[in-house]
Symmetry: C2
Subunit: 431 residues, 2 copies
Amino acid sequence: MAGPSFQALPGFRDFTPRECAIRNYLFETWRSVARRCGYVEYESPILEDTSLYLKKSGGELSAQLFRFEDQGGRDVTLRPEVTASLARLVAEHQRHFPKPLKWFEIGQCFRYEKPQKGRGREFHQFNVDILGEGGPSADAELISLAIESMLAFGFVEGDFVVRVSDRQAWIDFATEHGVSEDDIPDFLNIVDKIEREKPEVLEKRLGAYQLTADQIRAFIAEPSNASAAYDAIQADLSARGLGGFVELDLSIVRGLAYYTGVVFEVFDAKKSMRAVAGGGRYDTLVATISDGSVDLPATGFAMGDYVIRNLIEETPHANMQMEVWLQRNAANCDVFLVVADESKRPEALKLLTNLRRGGISADLPLNPVKVAKQFQSAERSGARFALVIGSEFPDLKLKVLSSRTEESLQADDAVEWLSDRLLQPDGPLLA
Amino acid sequence: MAGPSFQALPGFRDFTPRECAIRNYLFETWRSVARRCGYVEYESPILEDTSLYLKKSGGELSAQLFRFEDQGGRDVTLRPEVTASLARLVAEHQRHFPKPLKWFEIGQCFRYEKPQKGRGREFHQFNVDILGEGGPSADAELISLAIESMLAFGFVEGDFVVRVSDRQAWIDFATEHGVSEDDIPDFLNIVDKIEREKPEVLEKRLGAYQLTADQIRAFIAEPSNASAAYDAIQADLSARGLGGFVELDLSIVRGLAYYTGVVFEVFDAKKSMRAVAGGGRYDTLVATISDGSVDLPATGFAMGDYVIRNLIEETPHANMQMEVWLQRNAANCDVFLVVADESKRPEALKLLTNLRRGGISADLPLNPVKVAKQFQSAERSGARFALVIGSEFPDLKLKVLSSRTEESLQADDAVEWLSDRLLQPDGPLLA
C-alpha cells in the first residue's frame, strides 16, 4: 500500500490555484480567439473504442495508448488526440449544420510517453477544424487562426513562424521516382525523420527506393517545388496582412498517417522548442471513419498547453501580459468584510449575501478573531476593499487596502456603491 | 472490427455545439458563483493511483471503477470522484495557503454504472470544499454556496430544498444502542437505505443490532434529535436570509464512507429526481490520505451536470434563463462579411482581420458565391450585421439583419463603428 503519502502519477499534473489560473488563461485566450474568428465549440468523449484510433491515427500513437478493457469487456482507450473522435462525431451530425463547419474543442489528451520538459502523459489541446471545404482558402482561414492565437498571447512578428508544407508535393515526388502507393507512408516517414535519423540508417532506408538523402534535401531546398495550394495560401494570408508569419518548409510532413495535403507547424523563431502547434489537411478521414457514408474534406490544427506555456514564460512581453492577467485573477475576493463587533455578525452575513447576489466577489472570516487579524486576512485575500461592520451599523467604514484611505457608507447603499467603485480604475480584481 | 460507423461508448456523451453550449452555461454559472463567494479554482488529475480510492471513498464506488493497469504496470483508475484527490493535493500543498482553504473544481468523473436518465458513465461535477475550519460556520458558508448556485440558475424559493442531517447524531444513536464501532459503517448503510430496502431485509439487518425500523423512523421523525451543529447552521443561514431553503432530514446519511459529521443533499421540491447536489463533513480524510502528516477538518459538496440540467429543463423560469443565454451564444459570429465584388476579396480579408483583431466576432464566405447566397449564409450564421464589400470599396454597406435596414460606412471606421454598435441594445451575440 501507499508510502507516507499519495502522489500524482508520473506525467500527470496537480493544478493548484496558480497552475489552474495559468491553465484558465490559456483556455480563455483560445476560446476568445476562436469565437472572434467564427468557430463554435464542441467536445468529444475522453474515452473511446480503441478501434477508432488503431490505423486511423497510425504511427507512433498506437504504441503510446492508455488502453484497457472496461468492466463490460470493451477494448477502450483514453483519447491520444481528438481528430478521430471529431471525424466520428461529424459523420454522425454534419447534416444538421451548414457547411463549412468551423468547430473547436479545448480538451485533455493522454499518451504514454517518457515525461520530460514540454511533454507529459496528459496535456490539454486546443483543436480547431474546418470541414466541408477542400480549397486552400480553408487552409488559409485555419492558419490565420493559428497566427491570431499567437498574437492574442502577446507574441509579435519575429517571435514565431508558421512553416507550411504540402504532403501532395512529396506524394508527387515519390510517384515520379517510382515509389509504389503502398510504400508512400514509409517514404513520408523517412522524410519526416530526415534531420533526426542517423545518416547510415537514412541512406539505407532511402536506398530501398533508389533515392539518396541529397535528392531529398535538394527537393526541400528548391522553393519552386511549392504546390499551387501553398501559393494560394500565401496570397490569401498576405491580403490579411499575415504573409510575414508564413514560410515554405517542405521538410515538414507531420507524424500522423491521416494527413493528405497541406500541413504546417508553428515554431518559435529560434526553433529552440518542439512545435507550438501543428496540423493540416485530412480529406479522407471522415470517409474512412464513416465507412464511406459521409465524405467531407477537412483541415485542422492542434496547439498543446505545454509548449505554448514554456514559450510564453520565455518571452518577456508575452509573459508580462500573462502575469497581468494572473494578477487580476489571483485575488480570493474583491471585498473582504471585517466584523469589528461580533454582535453584528448576523448583519454582516446578510450584507455578505447581498454583495455576492449583486455580483460582487466578497468574503468574511468564518469565526470571531481580532480586528487586526481580520485586516491581515483581508490583505492576504488580495481584496481591494475591507468593509468594516461595527457597533455603528448600518454606518460602515470602507478601507481601500492599496492606499489605506478610509471612507464612510451606509449598509443599504453598499452593493450599488461598491459595484460602482469596482467599475472605476483599476477595476474588479476578479473578472 | 467496427460496423458501418463508430459510435460513442455507452454512457459517454458527444457534446455537439448546442450540447457544448449547455455544458458551458453550467460551467460558467458554477465558476461565477464560486468566485463571487471567495473560492479559488484548482484541478486534480483525471487518472490516479487506484489505492487512493480503495477504502478511502468506500461503499459502492469500488465496484464501479474504470480501473486498469497502465503500460508501466501501475494499477490506475479514472477518478470516480474528486475528494480523495483533493485531500492528497491539499496534504501536499496546504502549507502555502492561509486557512481556511476555499477551493472549487469543475471536472469530469467516471463510474461504470448502468446508463439511465440522470446518470451516465461520465459526468461533470462542480466540487466545492472548505478545509481548515471545523465549526458549523464553515458548513453554513458551504451550504450558502449550494443555495446561491441554485438561485444563479434561476431557481426560486419553493423550487428546491436543502435537507441537512448529521452523521454524528446517528453515531451517537448507534453507540447508545450498543452498536460496536466496527459495525457503525454497516449501520449507517442500513439507515441510508431505510426507504429503499425491502422491509424483510431491513428488519433482518437491523435485528442483528437488536433494533427495528420503527426505532429508526421514530428517531428521524423527532426534530429535537437535530445536533447543535444543525441549529448553528440554521441560525447562520437564517441571518443570511437563506433559512427558508433548509430543513432537517435525519434520513440523509450519504453513501461515501469518509463522511464524519454534518451531511446534506439538495433536492427539487417535488423530490422527483435524484439529489441535485450532496456533501458534508469529512474531518479525517486528509489525515488518512496523508498518513497523519496533515490533519485538516473539511467540508465539501458536489453538484453533477446531469440532474441540474434535467431540473433546469423541467422548470420553466430556469429553462427560460438558460435559453436566453444559449440564444446569445448560438451565433457563429456577430458580423458576416458579404463579398459583393470578388476583385475586392483581398480588401475583405484585410477588413475581416481588422474586425477580429478589434475583438469583433466576424466571418466571411471562403469561396466566391452569389450575393444572395452569401446573405443566406449571413442569416444562418446568426449574425446581427451583414457588412457588404463591393466595387465602391472603401464605401461599405451595412445591413442590420433583424430589421433589414441599411446604413453606409467607411472601411477605416468599421472597427470602431461596429464595436460601438455592438455595445448598444441588444449587444453582441457572442459574450
